[in-house]
Point group: C2
DNA sequence: CGATTTCATGTTGTCGACAATACGCAAGGC
DNA sequence: GCCTTGCGTATTGTCGACAACATGAAATCG
């Protein structure tokens, strides 16, 4: 195959590649970008941090070509910023940028909810019910991580119920850019109870196909999300503040 | 610098690169992706057509590395699709996909229009007035190309007046994916008059900051755009139909 | 004759090496 | 003292070469 990939966990490359007509093999570039994306949104690589190609190639046991292709993907998704001849930095969101992102995210979420009221199938209903149940369990067990995952799944499921692939993708894209902020927000928020209790009526409005009520609730709910993240700047702290002025 | 880049027009590389603290130099990858994107949306490279790396590297006089990075960008923007070990094809939109794209595009356009009513500056007003004037001139002169450009600029200007960078970018992204379809649509539409005459009231509603009226008009206007493209399948014809089933 | 296998060819995937650029630090000039 | 200049080093940008894979045609077998 390629290098032994001995250091660290890494991507484990592709172990046994069978012809298997059905499943398309994932390209190395895709695997790498997925992995780095995950590291970024889970705050293992901090905003403002420089991404050194050499370090990553050694970590993954690959060459710089697929890595650089992966970086182009992440830059297009606005998770990193590539500065010509200087390298790539993890994007650090300002309060204003978070506000702008949420502003659009809310509208897409509302639109998805409205569409979902028209298009959702019984299977969608069941999925959403299941995620709500998981959230409740995790909430009562005090398990914030599981809660967060279920919460994410809940909102993505509503988007999925719109059955509009374009909307689903746009929604997911914004969700990714906001993921880290919400992740850090949820894990330390005081009024978890309030946030949680808003999901019950949302789910109810959806299951009753009450589009206008659903839109109202979702707007309100995410307005709350904004208040949550905007009040702690911890979520925005950059590990290594970078001066980008010269490249503007 | 690098290769003579002798064949064809090509990218002309970077002619004179000065240190120039103010302006960031555009990377080769960026230049190439911009160029190919332009070729795709202007229908010079047809949907369904395979993108051969060798051909393009020779055309541009560059190596495959920056080209492949450019392709990753275009794939992330959903203008091409990269199929592992097989290559890249220009995306061919089905009628359903166009409908889904327009459905989201309309919502973003409406949202932008509403926001613009709150946030627009006198400068925005002037820009929009100017584009409207250009459209009128081109319309009366029967110049469909200039008209199309001004029409694009008009809609982008409304988005820009929202002063929300995230919204502007999302709007632009969808606009790109729909560009070719609308481009081909406008150039052969019969009821050009109707489409044109709708812009006057839109501009008026905007300049009067009448958000709800503006939203209504924009929705209606783009509903018209949908009827325009949906009725000719010419816009969707693939040069070389490709069977992607095996890679699903 | 039809289905399968083998192989030749073209294309993509990955790599290591070299070139170009930016950065930090020391030396020099005002 | 402070700004400028000139290097050495680290990092990114680009390239050509080779490896892996897919495709289609010829050859083989039933």
């Amino acid at each position: 195959m390629n290098k032994p990939a001995m250091p660290g966990g890494a991507v484990t490359a592709v172990s046994a590649r069978r012809p298997a007509i059905i499943v398309a093999p994932k390209s190395l570039t895709q695997q790498i970008s997925d992995h780095i994306r995950s590291e970024i949104i889970h705050d293992n690589i901090k905003p403002g941090e420089w991404i050194r190609e050499k370090a990553l190639t050694e970590q993954f046991g690959i060459s710089r070509t697929p890595l650089r292709e992966a970086l182009q993907i992440l830059a297009t998704q606005r998770l990193i910023e590539i500065i010509p001849n200087r390298g790539a930095v993890v994007v650090a969101l300002s309060d204003d940028e978070i506000r702008h992102l949420l502003e659009v995210y809310v509208r897409l979420d509302v639109f998805a909810a409205e569409l979902a009221c028209e298009k959702a199938t019984p299977l969608d209903d069941e999925t959403i019910r299941r995620h709500l149940a998981t959230m409740a369990e995790a909430y009562h067990a005090g398990d914030r991580y599981t809660y967060f995952d279920a919460n994410q799944a809940f909102h993505l499921a509503i988007a999925a119920a719109s059955h509009n692939p374009v909307l689903i993708e746009m929604h997911a894209q914004l969700n990714l850019r906001l993921y880290r902020t919400r992740y850090l927000g949820v894990l330390q928020a005081e009024n978890w109870a309030k946030a949680f209790n808003e999901h019950e009526p949302i789910a109810e409005a959806f299951l009753n196909r009450n589009a206008s009520e659903l839109a109202r609730l979702v707007s309100e709910h995410l307005g709350f999300a904004w208040r949550m993240v905007s009040s702690d700047e911890v979520a925005n702290a950059a590990a290594t503040p970078v001066d980008l002025a010269r490249t503007a």
